[in-house]
């Protein structure tokens, strides 16, 4: 099974009580599947929105984007740059 790194930022890192986690996911899993696994692994992540903003390898993606071995998935709170 491919392993991906999931990173949490700002308010989501506070909620999850961590900055990152490595997760093994089924082949051809999507970012949405990764999110579902996070909810299983980290009970506190139940407080995340249903459809948070996500990035895959430094680009914003939709939840149907597919992940592969070594990918970095990020959960992004509402952006507030500038």
């Amino acid at each position: 099974m491919p392993t991906v790194t999931v990173r949490f930022f700002a308010r989501y890192a506070e909620l999850a009580g961590r900055d990152s986690i490595a997760l093994a996911v089924p082949a051809a899993a999507t970012v949405g599947d990764v999110l579902a696994r996070i909810r299983q692994e980290i009970p506190e992540a139940g407080a995340l929105p249903d459809r948070p903003l996500t990035a895959l390898n430094l680009r914003q993606v939709r939840l149907d984007a597919q992940v592969k071995e070594g990918d970095e998935v990020a959960l992004l709170p509402p952006l507030a740059g500038g």
Binding site: A10, L48, A55, R59, L76, L79, G81
Partner: protein, 145 residues
């Protein structure tokens, strides 16, 4: 090459030097500074650094592809930014002012939409508040985009 992200006060001169040239007669600078709303004493900025740098490169490249005579540069400050100090500075230079203003505006609008940066307001009473993209404060409940 200047850093796109800094933890120090932003200096404008290096931004100007990155965009100005004799053939570019119009230069426009935008500064975003920390506002003193609701007894805010400062804002702590944090980022997904690697993605923020990649996104800034993409925004600058796309803006220069759209405004082909313009040159644009930006720097975003992270960490605690006190009231009145700049959290972001953008410089745009072009042969004429219309294109300089338009390119500068384009960069800040894309930054607002795309840059993975977050801000936590610090208040005079010692409390802190994450701020959502519309500027509304989010004390507890979570909001999707």
């Amino acid at each position: 090459m200047m850093d796109y992200l800094t933890r120090n006060p932003i200096a404008i001169e290096p931004l100007l030097a990155a965009v100005q040239s004799p053939e570019r007669g119009g230069t426009c600078v935008f500064l975003g500074t920390v506002r003193g709303d609701d007894e805010v004493t400062g804002i702590a900025y944090s980022a997904y650094d690697e993605m923020a740098v990649a996104e800034i490169k993409r925004i600058l490249d796309e803006t220069q592809a759209r405004f082909t005579s313009a040159r644009v540069m930006l720097q975003h400050r992270l960490g605690l930014v006190p009231l009145g100090e700049a959290s972001i500075a953008i410089a745009a230079a072009a042969p004429h002012r219309d294109e300089a203003f338009a390119a500068c505006r384009c960069v800040i609008e894309e930054v607002k939409k795309r840059l993975p940066v977050w801000k936590k307001e610090l208040h005079a009473d010692g409390t802190t508040t994450w701020v959502d993209p519309s500027g509304k404060q989010v004390a507890r409940g979570l909001h999707d985009r």
